[in-house]
């Protein structure tokens, strides 16, 4: 995935699970869950969506790398 594809995947996933949240307002290094008020179920939904869009499994062990927008983009574009 290119960083741009990763960005699109994240935006798409967020639109689906938290339609009222606007990822454009979140700073790249802010904690995503805090910034968007995602609870554990929301976050799981986010991971599900990302995993689908990226076409790869995302394990719980990978969660720390999904903490911020910047780290998520990095994580997704690494593979």
């Amino acid at each position: 995935m290119t960083p741009q594809q990763a960005r699109d995947a994240i935006a798409g996933a967020l639109r689906k699970i938290a339609p009222d949240a606007d990822p454009a307002t979140v700073s790249p290094d802010a904690d995503l869950r805090d910034a968007l008020g995602l609870d554990s179920l929301d976050f799981l939904g986010f991971v599900e969506e990302l995993s689908q869009r990226a076409g790869r499994r995302i394990d719980e062990d990978d969660y720390p790398q999904l903490a911020t927008l910047a780290s998520t983009i990095k994580f997704l574009s690494r593979s």
């Binding site: 689906k16 609870d39 554990s40």
Partner: protein, 458 residues
């Protein structure tokens, strides 16, 4: 208009899903009503033919108002010529009959206030309580009434009561209440809008996009998908109404219920390890969160300490007719609802997880069902996701207890004389001192902690 909780005194009919002449079965979703809390799908309490829709879309009516009349199957055959349904015993039964039944003693009980014993008896004998006339104190339905009704010939055999509905009973396109109102205001045909919300739900933004895209604005679809005519409540009004409803209920709780509070710190090492192993094998969509295990332990512990599961009514404790966990769900934009997961103790952890996801999605999309909002026997609140260590909740009357779950986090924890970092969670109990004493409450929290040490058995 059924009562959907002790805090509701009126509701607005926002949508009819049936029209006169339609055949409905007991349990079918027939209308959507808007309360201070959210839009709720209500089901028919009877099987028969819809005779007349009495309350028009957009009208706000008090609890207990007849919404529609339904003619039972046999009566329909004999009354086609008469055009008007007969009003003798087998005559039209009202969709709202259930709401008129409560033996009003404290004045504010939820509608299904027939005691659990009576409800169990009725279920066993296949009696529809909404059709039973109570002869007890304040019109209360007595065991004798139920037995009489069971012995009498009935217009139609009562189908098995619907206690758990499968999600997605109505295969309609889901639409959030806000989107629905907006569509009505802008004259957008919802059937032509593509939903981007959960499960394809049409949301506010979808409607706006549809207008921006120059979709030919059609007048609102004809019956039964009629849009509200009345100018709908604004978001601010709705938020205020919800605050007031929550305020009334919580003030009543604190006024009437002598709360006592207990807390316990529970080692979650076993739970976290078990989850980690399981989730590694499960597909992402089937992945479990700690909340599912915590809910299961909450429910199972109630089996062992049933004194906390039920209602305080008429100066005595009425045990619940099952373990129905009301789960507090915060709504985006403020407020909360506490829909129930029925018979949570008999669900597997995976099923509980599914129910939880489904409830949260529907609560936020404004698509809950009546039974989910009225039948909880205890409430569980999980503020842990918001980062707090512990939550001491306010009991939801007439329930007698509320379980709080804080944020699972690593903390220094001593075991066998050694301090180490372990994942722990603080569980709390707020309980009604009229129904139980601290001893019972303590037994409950320790039972729950014990169960969480053996997650594989949950």
């Amino acid at each position: 208009m059924p009562s959907l909780g002790a805090d509701m005194d009126e509701g607005t009919l926002t949508e009819w899903l049936v029209k006169p002449g339609d055949k409905v079965h007991k349990g079918d979703i027939i209308a959507v009503i808007d309360t201070a809390k959210s839009a709720i799908e209500i089901e028919s309490f009877h099987t028969g033919i819809v005779d007349r829709l009495i309350v028009p879309v957009g009208e706000t009516v008090p609890v207990g108002t007849v919404l529609a009349t339904i003619t039972p199957p046999e009566a329909e055959a004999v009354t086609t010529a008469a055009a008007q349904p007969v009003t003798v015993p087998a005559g039209p039964v009202t969709a709202a009959a259930k709401a008129e039944a409560p033996p009003k003693v404290t004045g504010e009980q939820p509608a299904e206030a027939a005691s659990p014993l009576i409800r169990q008896l009725a279920r066993r004998l296949g009696v529809d309580l909404t059709a039973v006339r109570g002869t007890g104190r304040a019109g209360e339905i007595t065991q004798a009434d139920v037995r009489r009704a069971a012995a009498a010939p009935r217009p139609a055999p009562a189908p098995a009561p619907v206690t758990r509905e499968k999600p997605g009973v109505a295969a309609r396109q889901p639409v959030t209440p806000l989107a629905r109102r907006l569509a009505a205001e802008l004259g957008v045909d919802l059937a032509a809008v593509t939903g981007t919300g959960p499960g394809g739900a049409v949301r506010e933004g979808d409607v706006r996009r549809a207008t921006a895209a120059g979709q030919p604005t059609a007048p609102a679809a004809p019956l039964p998908r009629q849009a509200p005519e009345r100018a709908a409540r604004t978001a601010a009004e709705r938020a205020l109404a919800m605050r007031q409803a929550i305020g009334r209920l919580m003030a009543r709780s604190k006024r009437e219920i002598p709360h006592y509070y207990l807390s316990n710190t529970v080692d979650l090492t076993a739970v976290m390890n078990w989850l980690h192993e399981r989730n590694r094998e499960l597909p992402v969509s089937g992945r479990l969160v700690p909340a599912a295990l915590l809910l299961k332990a909450t429910a199972l512990a109630l089996r062992r300490v049933p004194e906390l599961n039920g209602y305080w009514q008429d100066d005595h404790f009425n045990p619940g007719d099952g373990i129905h966990l009301g789960v507090a769900i915060s709504l985006r934009g403020g407020g909360l609802v506490t829909p129930a997961i029925h018979a949570a103790d008999s669900l597997t952890v995976a099923e509980l997880m599914g129910s939880l996801k489904d409830l949260v999605t529907r609560a936020r999309a404004g698509r809950l069902r009546r039974a989910e909002l009225t039948e909880a026997t205890i409430t569980v609140t999980n503020l842990g996701d918001q980062g707090v260590e512990a939550v001491f909740g306010v009991i939801y009357p007439p329930q007698v207890a509320l379980v709080g779950v804080g944020r699972p986090a690593e903390r220094p924890f001593a075991t066998s004389g050694l301090v180490g970092a372990r994942p722990v969670v603080v569980t709390t109990l707020s309980a009604d001192h009229r129904a139980t004493d601290g001893f019972t409450g303590a037994r409950y929290l320790t039972t729950m902690a014990d169960l969480l040490q053996r997650p594989e058995e949950l």
